[in-house]
């Protein structure tokens, strides 16, 4: 009995030391949310899709408000120019200038690739804060690209998420994830994202370059590079209307 008591005390001591070693996980993801999410943002980006046979770059401008509203206009190349996407809550519409049609995307189509990239419509729409959809715990500490990172495991606490769990490597200095492994419910690794070129913009740390790799398809991944990003802007309300798609 004496030995059992001793063993229990010993195990408790080890356990509390393990937790004491790492900061509070909830605090880390709160800081990530503060960096990555804003009331609204306006950005221009270049998405380079490294396909199996060729690479191509698509330039776009996006306006987004929290996780409810988003409007993207494709600026180049010529074949995509004028294509627009509008997201309102869980609904997504695409306007194609060639057909002058507004087409709604729903159901399983939301899991399809956007413009042949490694990103799905669902990925583009997922703008919810991590604290709202995941439970987190810190499972270790590693160094990636000469940056000290907390290794975190996130598990969904709501049903309607694109990825059931995530493994994040969070930069200990900026509190920006610099690598994300995204898993399905079966535990299969579905996508990997690498976040680079972290800059301080309007008081927050923000990665300007994202590299996504759909682990289920061939190709060399998609690089999403923001050329200009502004937070907390005044965005006219008409931007987020179906009428603006045809303008």
């Amino acid at each position: 009995m004496k030995y059992i008591k001793f063993l229990l005390i010993f195990l408790l001591a080890i356990n509390s030391e393990t937790y004491a070693k790492y900061p509070d996980a909830a605090g880390i993801i709160k800081k990530i949310d503060e960096n990555m999410f804003s009331t609204n943002r306006v950005f221009e980006s270049v998405m380079t899709i490294n396909g199996k046979r060729s690479s191509r770059s698509i330039v776009s401008r996006t306006y987004s408000v929290g996780d409810e509203k988003s409007f993207t206009e494709y600026l180049s190349p010529a074949s995509e120019k004028g294509t627009k996407m509008l997201k309102l809550d869980n609904q997504l519409w695409i306007y194609s200038p060639g057909t002058d049609r507004i087409i709604q995307i729903s159901g399983h189509l939301l899991r399809q690739s956007v413009m042949g990239s490694d990103l799905s419509y669902e990925d583009m729409m997922e703008e919810r804060k991590l604290t709202d959809i995941y439970d987190a715990k810190v499972i270790g500490e590693e160094e990636i690209s000469n940056r000290k990172c907390w290794v975190m495991e996130l598990t969904a606490k709501v049903e309607d998420v694109a990825y059931f769990s995530q493994k994040l490597w969070v930069d200990q200095e900026s509190y920006v994830p610099i690598r994300e492994d995204l898993f399905g419910k079966s535990g299969k690794l579905l996508k990997r994202a690498t976040l680079e070129n972290i800059k301080k913009i309007q008081g927050r740390w923000f990665p300007m370059k994202f590299t996504y790799k759909d682990m289920l398809k061939e190709g060399n991944g998609t690089v999403f590079e923001m050329t200009d990003v502004k937070f907390d802007q005044k965005i006219p309300a008409y931007i987020f209307s179906k009428a603006s798609l045809k303008k």
Binding site: I49, G51, K52, R53, S54, R56, S79, E80, T83, W93, I94, S96, G98, T99, D100, R101, I102, I103, Q104, S106, L109, S113, M115, G116, S117, K242
Partner: protein, 424 residues
């Protein structure tokens, strides 16, 4: 002796009626089953060749790894030049380019916004050229339920069932929405020129047929196609010839190191068609074996019963000095005669029924709900030259084997005990 035996068979109905009925039924079933399976498999092979596999198919090497997938990004490029090469080197085939695609059809409401959407499998094929054979291969004109054939670019045929589901009629406009060869978004408006019913569930659930040039435009594939299909001018698949073409075409591009270089595969290299063809070839043998085995057992039993009934007759014949072998041979002659009569009657009825089913067909559409196989819903038998004689093989062999087995008992009769047996 043969005429004597024949008279005996015809006059002594108790000796011949039951075996003739059994042989006749067996022969009829053999004929029916053979023509049924030949019909089903034959139709499926033709349908698959015309819609999907061709007799030989040229695709990119990457696509050849998974030929059943419709990966538009693995398409062939520079197809005008490629077709010229194929026509020059393999002139006895009709080479046609096609684009198979999986896509979404979006039907607009009066405001031009999405009213309904549905997934479709589609074909871009040459339907507008004056000398194209593609219209016949897809049996398009007879398959039209409403509307008419596309007569100009921008017109499309869609499945009747799909059109009904989405309340679409000829003249309505829809948008085809998919991915371009490069992975971009493909949007193209089309007008429904007509609706079609192919008689295969997998197609009738949701298919769209557009002209190859419209498909090239929609999916941004100038001078590109998903596949180039080769059809023998005879329109009949020939395994040996197809293999030769495959070897020849692959040799043409052997030095090309590009992983998207053309590669040829035959019909039997695709989607389990090889096993299907082997199965089709083996049907006759399988059926004959099954029926000979089953009927020989039945007729052996019937022969044993007959032997028991004719126990006294054989005893008298032996007592009169007839040789055992002579009795045994006469028994086999009788079996041959009964087998021929039964097979003739059974084959006649079997061929008649087969011919009727070939003409009328049996609609099994209700049983194929949800089927993903490319099989016709109206099943027809195929009356081929083999149909006329296939029933005779099990018919004659089974009764001869049955009687040969039963007749062995004759040799077990002891001549010394015959008079004792006959006194009883």
């Amino acid at each position: 002796m043969k005429i004597f035996l024949l008279k005996g068979i015809l006059k002594d109905k108790s000796r011949s009626l039951l075996p003739i009925i059994i042989v006749g039924l067996g022969a009829m079933l053999t004929v029916l089953l053979y023509s049924w399976l030949k019909g089903v498999i034959g139709e499926s092979i033709i349908m698959n060749a015309n819609f999907n596999t061709g007799h030989v198919k040229v695709i990119s090497r990457e696509q050849a790894k998974t030929p059943e997938q419709m990966a538009i990004d693995l398409s062939l490029v520079n197809i005008a030049e490629l077709k010229k090469e194929l026509k020059k080197n393999v002139s006895d085939m009709d080479w046609v380019e096609r684009i198979r695609f999986g896509s979404l059809i979006d039907f607009p409401d009066s405001e031009g916004e999405t009213r309904a959407q549905g997934p479709v499998i589609g074909w871009g094929l040459d339907i507008l050229s004056p000398n194209t054979k593609e219209r016949e291969r897809f049996n398009l004109a007879p398959s039209i339920k409403r509307g008419k054939m596309p007569s100009k670019h921008g017109e499309a045929l869609i499945s009747e069932d799909f059109a009904e589901k989405f309340e679409v009629k000829p003249g309505d406009v829809f948008t085809l929405f998919g991915s371009t060869m490069e992975g971009g978004m493909a949007f193209q408006n089309f007008t429904v020129s007509g609706t079609v019913k192919f008689g295969a569930q997998v197609l009738d659930r949701g298919a769209i047929i557009i002209d190859i040039q419209d498909a090239q435009q929609a999916f941004q594939m100038p001078d590109a196609a998903g596949e180039i299909l080769g059809f023998f001018n005879s329109n009949l698949y020939d395994t040996e010839k197809a293999m030769k073409v495959k070897v020849k075409v692959n040799a043409m591009f052997a030095s090309d190191t590009d992983k998207y270089a053309p590669a040829a595969i035959t019909l039997q290299d695709q989607e389990g068609m090889g096993q299907y063809l082997d199965y089709a070839d083996a049907i006759g043998g399988i059926l004959i074996t099954i029926f000979i085995s089953a009927m020989a057992i039945v007729l052996w039993n019937s022969g044993l019963l007959g032997g028991l009934r004719r126990y006294t007759e054989f005893g008298v014949r032996l007592a009169l000095g007839e040789d055992k072998t002579h009795i045994y041979v006469s028994l086999l002659y009788e079996a041959v005669a009964i087998g021929l009569i039964g097979s003739l009657l059974g084959s006649f009825v079997g061929v008649l029924i087969s011919y009727w089913i070939q003409q009328v067909g049996i609609d099994l559409g209700g049983m194929m709900q949800g089927s993903t196989l490319m099989m016709p819903t109206v099943i027809r038998t195929a009356v081929t030259p083999t149909t006329y004689y296939i029933g005779f093989i099990p018919g004659v062999f089974s009764i001869v084997i049955g009687n040969a087995l039963a007749g062995i008992g004759i040799y077990k009769r002891s001549t010394a005990r015959l008079f004792n047996e006959l006194e009883v």
